[in-house]
C-alpha cells in the first residue's frame, strides 16, 4: 500500500496544555445565541409573546370583572407558553441536522454529550427568559384589567407558579427535546409534538368516555391526562396524581429522552 511508516514517524504531539476544554457554560451560551440569531428563531419567540399580549387583551375585555385577578392573567401566558416552548427546544436540536450545522457544532465539540447538556441548559434558559417576559405581560394584563373594570387581587398561589407554570413548562421543554432527538427533523418533530399534545389526549378522552376500565388506567399511562391536575383546579396534585405523573412521565418523557440522547450521541451528521 502507501509508503507509510506510522509507527516510526515522529508523532510531533500537539501541545494540549494551552487549551482547556470548552466550559459547559460557554457552550450553553453559544446554544442560547444560536436559538435567537436566525429570523426563524427570533420571530418565533416574538410571535409567542405577541400571542400572549393578544390573549391578555382579549381576556381583559371578555372575562367577568371578578375574574380579573393577577392569577387569572398569569394563566394566559402559562397556557400559551405550554404549547410553544417545546417547539423552541425542538428547533434547538433539529436544526443541527436539517440545517446541517451539526457538522460544525460536533467538530468544535466532539464530546457530544456536552453539546446535549449545553442544549438542555440553553433550552431551560430560554424557557425561563420567556416565562419571565410572560410574567411581566401578566402584570401588564392585570393592570389593563383594572382599566376594563376589574379590581384584582394580586395574591398568588404557589401551586400555580411552581406546578402550572414552571414544572408543566419544563416538562414540555424536555418532551420537545426528546421528540427532537428521536425524529431529528424540524417539521416532523413539530407535527409529532402536536400529535402528542393534541390528538393523543383527545383520542384518550374519547376512549375514557367509552370504557370505564380505560378511564381508570388512562392517567397512569397518558402523560397529558396525568398532567391535568398540574395546570388546572387548585394546581396541587394529590399523592396518587403525582404517582400518575411519575409513571406516565416515565413512559412518555424518560424513555424517549433516553433513547433520543442515545441516538444523538451515535447518529452520523451528514
Amino acid at each position: 500500500m502507501s509508503a507509510t511508516s506510522a509507527s516510526t514517524a515522529n508523532p510531533r504531539p500537539l501541545d494540549l496544555a494551552s487549551t482547556p476544554q470548552v466550559p459547559l457554560t460557554r457552550l450553553a451560551k453559544v446554544e442560547y445565541r444560536k436559538a435567537l440569531d436566525t429570523r426563524a428563531g427570533r420571530w418565533f419567540i416574538a410571535a409567542i409573546l405577541l400571542l400572549v399580549v393578544a390573549v391578555e387583551v382579549i381576556y381583559a375585555f371578555a372575562a367577568g370583572d371578578d375574574q380579573k385577578n393577577f392569577q387569572d392573567f398569569l394563566q394566559v401566558p402559562g397556557a400559551v407558553l405550554g404549547y410553544f416552548l417545546p417547539i423552541i427546544a425542538i428547533m434547538l436540536v433539529t436544526s443541527e441536522a436539517s440545517q446541517r450545522n451539526g457538522l460544525v457544532t460536533f467538530t468544535l465539540e466532539p464530546r457530544r454529550s456536552r453539546v446535549v447538556l449545553a442544549k438542555f441548559l440553553a433550552g431551560l434558559g430560554l424557557a425561563v427568559s420567556v416565562m419571565v417576559l410572560g410574567l411581566v405581560l401578566a402584570v401588564l394584563g392585570t393592570l389593563f384589567g383594572i382599566v376594563t373594570g376589574g379590581s384584582p387581587s394580586w395574591s398568588l398561589d404557589t401551586g400555580i407558579v411552581v406546578n402550572a407554570i414552571v414544572l408543566a413548562n419544563v416538562i414540555g421543554v424536555f418532551v420537545g427535546f426528546a421528540l427532537a432527538m428521536l425524529i431529528m427533523n424540524t417539521p416532523a418533530a413539530i407535527v409529532g409534538y402536536f400529535v402528542y399534545s393534541f390528538i393523543l389526549p383527545t383520542a384518550v378522552g374519547i376512549l375514557r368516555a367509552l370504557s370505564d376500565g380505560f378511564d381508570k388506567i388512562a392517567p397512569w399511562i397518558e402523560f397529558n391526562t396525568a398532567q391535568t391536575p398540574l395546570i388546572s383546579g387548585d394546581f396541587s396534585p394529590t399523592g396518587e396524581q403525582w404517582a400518575q405523573i411519575a409513571t406516565s412521565g416515565f413512559i412518555w418523557l424518560i424513555v424517549p429522552l433516553a433513547i433520543g440522547i442515545w441516538r444523538l450521541l451515535r447518529i452520523e451528521f451528514k
Partner: protein, 313 residues
Amino acid sequence: MITVESLTRRYGAFTAVDDVSFVCQPGRVTGFLGPNGAGKTTTMRVMVGLTQPTSGRVTIGGHRYADIPNPGRHVGVLLDASAQHAGRTGREILTIGAETMGLPKSRVDEMLRMVSLDDREAKRRLKNYSLGMKQRLGIAHALLGDPSVLILDEPANGLDPAGIRWMRGLLKDYADRGGTVLLSSHLLHEVEQIADEMILIGRGRIVASGTKEQLLAGTETKAAHVTALDNDLLAKALQAKGVTVAAAGTGLRAECAPVEVGRVAAEQAIVLTDLRSAGGGLEDLFLSLTEDTQREAPAQTPSAPATAEGTAR
C-alpha cells in the same frame, strides 16, 4: 501531523474506506486525490470524529480528535461549506465559532478581512452566498482558532481562478510556517499545483502516494506535442529517425519522448515554438490508477476529466 492507520469504514456490504494508511507531515501540503465517491470525505470525517471507523484509527499530533480539548484551536476543519444554517449571516457564523473557541470578537473581523469578505457581504445570510463566498467563509472558519493542522474537503470547489490562486498562496504560506495541510480534490490540476505530496485513492483504497516526481518516476511519456516554425521540415526529420508523426492542431504529434523531438530539432537547427509531452503525465497516471474505480468506461475518460476541469476553472 495526521496519521491514518489501517482505516476501514464499512456501511453494510459497502466498503467506503478500505485499509487506508498514510501520514500528512507538518510543513507540507498533502493532496488527497480521487474520483467522486472514492472515500476521501469518509476518511476526513473519521479524522474529526464525525464518523466512527469500523477498524483502524486516526491520530492528529498523536491524539485522537475526540481527546483534543477545544479542538478548533488545534485543527481547522472545512468539510462542507454549505453545512451551516442558511439563515445566519457570514459574520454570525464566524462569531459562533469564535465564541465556542473562546476567541475575541476582533478575530472575526481579522478572518473576514483575510478571506476578503467585505462588511456588506458579511452581513448577508448564507443562503444568499455564492458557492465561492461560502468556501471563503468556510476557510475563514477553519482558520479562526489559528490551528496547526488544516483538514479541507474540496476547498477549491466553486472558487474562481483568482480565488484558487489566492487559496494556493494561503495554504503554501501556512505550510511554510510549519502547518500541516490535508486537502482533497477530484481535480488533478488543482492538487498538482499546490500539493507537495499526493495520496491517490480509488474505490476506498490508496492506489499511489508520494511526491509528483515519485509518482511520475517509472511512467515514461511516449508521445509529444510539438510546434515548429517549419512543421513539415520537422516531420520529415522525425520520420527519418523512424518516429511516427501526425498533424495535430497547429503542430504535430510525435510518438516519442519529448526529449527525442528536442534532440532532432537541435540537430537539424529547427526552431521550436512549443514542445510538451502528450497526455497529462500525472493525469494519465491518475486515470489509469483509478481506472477500475471510475464511473465512466475507460474509453470515455479522456473527455470526462477535461470537461470537469473546464467548468472548475
